[in-house]
């Protein structure tokens, strides 16, 4: 099986004033296509930074991050943005829906970057909402939805462009147990039935058990 994500000897150092703070140190990670991987570790271990590198919203200080066959560090700012829109679906811990847009409009947002007609965009957004079981909430605004429902809309937004990789940063971190369970089931469905490669950061060991593989980070180093 080919690697959908190939992290090669990545270092990431943040500069604070004159001080250098190493966050990731020599990370090597391969995620095969269709895999469901959980990244675990204590706060400050660098798991979100690694996720950001894989999602192409940050660049490594050294090393290579190859996702879907593209070395993301080599792309220009605008090319990287375009690459993200085609290849990455990002699920945030706090959903990050746009409050002035209803569910359909939120899901439709990434499609504004495509050449699809308005009708086609609406159809795809509706389909994505159906996949996450929220077709009946299509015209609800984020303030009218529960936390679990908001996260479902965020997942619909992440999958609406049919990306190859879904990255999730503690997707159940802000949810009650029941809603968290529903979201994890949904992510499993996306991996199993829609063949999405998923990289998920989580603190929750129970959530991590839903993944096929678990990796532990400590002080910027991958332990297993």
């Amino acid at each position: 099986m080919t690697s959908m994500v190939d992290v090669r000897d990545v270092r990431k150092v943040y500069r604070r004033d004159s001080q250098e703070v190493p966050v990731l140190d020599g990370i090597k990670l391969q995620v095969p296509e269709g895999e469901f991987v959980a990244l675990m570790g204590p706060s400050g271990s660098g798991k979100t930074t690694l996720l950001n590198l894989i999602a192409g919203i940050d660049r490594p200080t050294s090393g290579q991050v190859i996702v879907a066959g593209t070395d993301v560090a080599q792309l220009s700012e605008s090319a990287l943005a375009q690459w993200r829109s085609h290849n990455i679906g990002f699920i945030f811990q706090f959903y990050n829906l746009i409050p002035v847009l209803n569910a359909t409009e939120n899901v439709e947002l990434p499609l504004l970057l495509t050449s699809l007609s308005k009708k086609e965009r609406r159809e795809r957004a509706t389909t994505a909402l159906k996949v996450v079981g929220l077709a009946d909430r299509a015209h609800h605004y984020p303030r009218q939805l529960s936390g679990g429902q908001e996260q479902r809309v965020a997942i619909a937004r992440a999958i609406v462009t049919d990306p190859k990789v879904l990255v999730a940063d503690e997707p159940t971190g802000d949810l009650d147990a029941k809603s968290a369970e529903e979201i994890l089931q949904l992510i499993e469905v996306l991996n199993r039935e829609h063949k999405k490669t998923i990289v998920m950061v989580t603190h929750d060991p129970r959530a991590a058990t839903r993944a096929h593989t678990q990796h532990h980070l400590e002080k910027g180093v991958l332990k297993d």
């Binding site: 940050d58 829109s85 409009e105 990434p110 970057l113």
Partner: protein
Amino acid sequence: MKFLPYLLKHLRRNWVRTTSTVLAMALCIFLFCTLQSVLAAINALLESSSANRLVTRHAVSLVFNLPLSYENRIQSVPGVKRVARTSWFGGSLPAKKEGKADEGDSSTTDWSNFFQNMAVDAEPFFAMYPEYQVPPDQFQAFLQDLRGCVIGRKLAEKFGWKVGDTFFLESFIPPYRKRDGPFEFVVRAIYDVDRVRYPSADRNSMFFHYKYLYEATGRGVGAGTYTVEITDPNQAGAVSKAIDALFANSDAQTRTETEKAFQAGFISMAGNLALLLNGIGLAIAFTILLVTANTMSMAVRERRTEIAVLKTLGFSSGQVMGLIVAEALLLGILGGALGIGSSLALTWTLTHTPGIKDVLAGIGLSELTLRPVVAALGFAVSLFLGFAAGVVPALSAYRSRITDMLRTV
């Protein structure tokens, strides 16, 4: 265009702030357009002045008349072609019944129908004003009738006056009032204006014989001003000095200037007025720029997470910057449209409200209107304000890194 609903929804997010910003912008554009319209009207009036006409008046104030003996002395100055006595009569129709007021009833006047009326030396005056085109036969009839007058085409249309009609005027200037009631006039000629050669020339004025004023007031009045035609416009300064030098040691010293300068002075020192109005406009525009820039900065600061989300979803920094600038431009467009509309409504109302429109016509500002070029300039200013207000926060959003913005959540 597919981003327009997105932008509109963002503007509706904090509608109080959006509305107040749009209103501030609208006020700015309204003032800009209205002040510029007034300036344009004044400039049009000044442009109608001829370069080869001078006006000599009392050095102290227009309130004081000049002796009639000055006429011949002015005529003798080298470079002077013609001289005409010209007195602003300040007459208005008696209020009783339009054009049919009983003679002797001077207790009330109809200010709502005020128009400019001047007592002039007819022959030299019309000879030096080629913009007023009077049919020769009517002009001859006018010359032969002491009570005769020449009126502008628009004035004739307004009151329905035709050649042969009579009407009464009474001046509010005490020396120009008769004991036996208002002045009676007979319309002997109606003048037209060549709108191609003289687009700003007035068509709302009335001229009558200076001699009528002089005789009717007991030969006690002087000349309000002398209109002087010169042979060479380039010598205007020298001729003016020469005229004023003639009367430098007399009781009634004179001040001679070009007709344009005279009218500028007559309309509240229009030169300074332009500076003042433009200064006010600039100060307001700068203030609104700061207000709008602050509004946009606040709006962008509140949306740091959303900007990070947009970038994460694949919007490039340039596209995010474009959205913010477009939002600011939209504020500018809304404010501009509202401001231009308000200015249009005000100028229309002023020029169509009885009383006000006549006062405007009386001071030569009957052409006060929001010209397309002023409206276009106002719209450009609103776009500039919107752009200038949005570009700084947009640049900030452009430069911001996704991870930094998400970290501040």
